[in-house]
Symmetry: C2
Subunit: 197 residues, 2 copies
């Protein structure tokens, strides 16, 4: 019990610092472009010290992606409400997703999206299970749009298009004064559901 408490505190301390700093560096420079030395220095450590907390650089990447999926799934589940109209449910999910990939300090999911192939196959296979949960929530919401007449055709394809368009925003979105993620979410929703405005 004491041991469990100690480990939890540990996770929230230096280990967590490393994961957050690595996420930022992986996002900015890519997995290969961010050296262990850079990660160590970002948290005020010497170059060998992160290996006290992680067995390898790969394990840090895994921790980043795991943390991203954990946070992302938590935030996403929190806005899923069974009695919401399809378009309102869609808007809520869009807003959460934009926050997950665009908001300052949320580097975990962008790292996952753009460094997925840097993960070992073993880790990919394990993490894909959680990714599937995430996709299933979205698939439900898109199916809801279809059933409510907002979308026709192939709903799996529709989900991929919607999420793809948003995920690619990571490459071009620059936050500007005056517009919030709320405004941006409205634009995304308006674009995809414009046929019923």
């Amino acid at each position: 019990m004491a041991r469990v408490l100690k480990e939890q505190k540990h996770d929230d301390g230096r280990r967590g610092d490393i994961v957050r700093a690595a996420a930022k560096l992986f996002r900015d420079k890519g997995y290969d472009g961010a050296s262990m030395r850079a990660i160590a220095n970002a948290v005020g450590m010497q170059c060998g010290s992160p290996f006290y907390h992680f067995a390898s650089k790969q394990d840090i990447l895994v921790a980043v992606v795991e943390e991203g999926l954990r946070q992302g799934l938590e935030k996403t589940r929190a806005v899923v409400k069974p009695n919401l109209p399809a378009d309102a449910q869609f808007r809520a999910l869009v807003k959460v997703h934009l926050s997950i990939i665009l908001e300052d300090g949320n580097d975990f999911i962008p790292v996952m999206l753009y460094n997925w192939r840097c993960l070992d196959e073993v880790h990919q296979r394990r993490l894909i299970a959680t990714k599937d949960e995430y996709d299933a929530i979205w698939q439900n919401a898109v199916n809801g749009l279809h059933n409510a007449g907002f979308l026709g055709g192939d709903t799996k394809f529709a989900r991929l298009m919607v999420l793809g368009a948003m995920n690619f925003m990571v490459t071009w979105y620059k936050p500007k004064k005056g517009d919030s993620l709320d405004t941006l979410s409205d634009k995304v929703v308006a674009f995809f559901l414009s046929q019923h405005a």
Copy 2:
């Protein structure tokens, strides 16, 4: 004159082999993940030999992106026809773009899309001019959709959504027997223009 001819032949020979091999490796492993040794070996050279053709690894990346933009712009311009109905023009552009990013051996533009930040700022600034030409063609087509009543709202945002959704296909599209880029183009067009089907 003889010198010009010789250089042209040279470009189409070993230099071109290096650019094509590098494009494939940059696409598969990323710019940092693909070593000069791997690029050299892919064309049957020793590790120092590519430097007879290029001053640096960075210059190979620049050549890959330049070739991608050149080919892409050429193919794209070829399908732009002033008297085409807006939806037909859109479909033609979608098909060309899918071919550019998904067809086997077309690694140049995917490398550009996902290794853009590996380019020096100087090269980015120069290449962005050509990118803008590409975007302008698409903007025209999307404006055409808007004017014909296929789309409402912010047409620049619409362009970014449409291209983003397609560009992200690079991360999930796996060619399957029986479906062609024609079928896929139809699905993309149907999705974005479904409100007027």
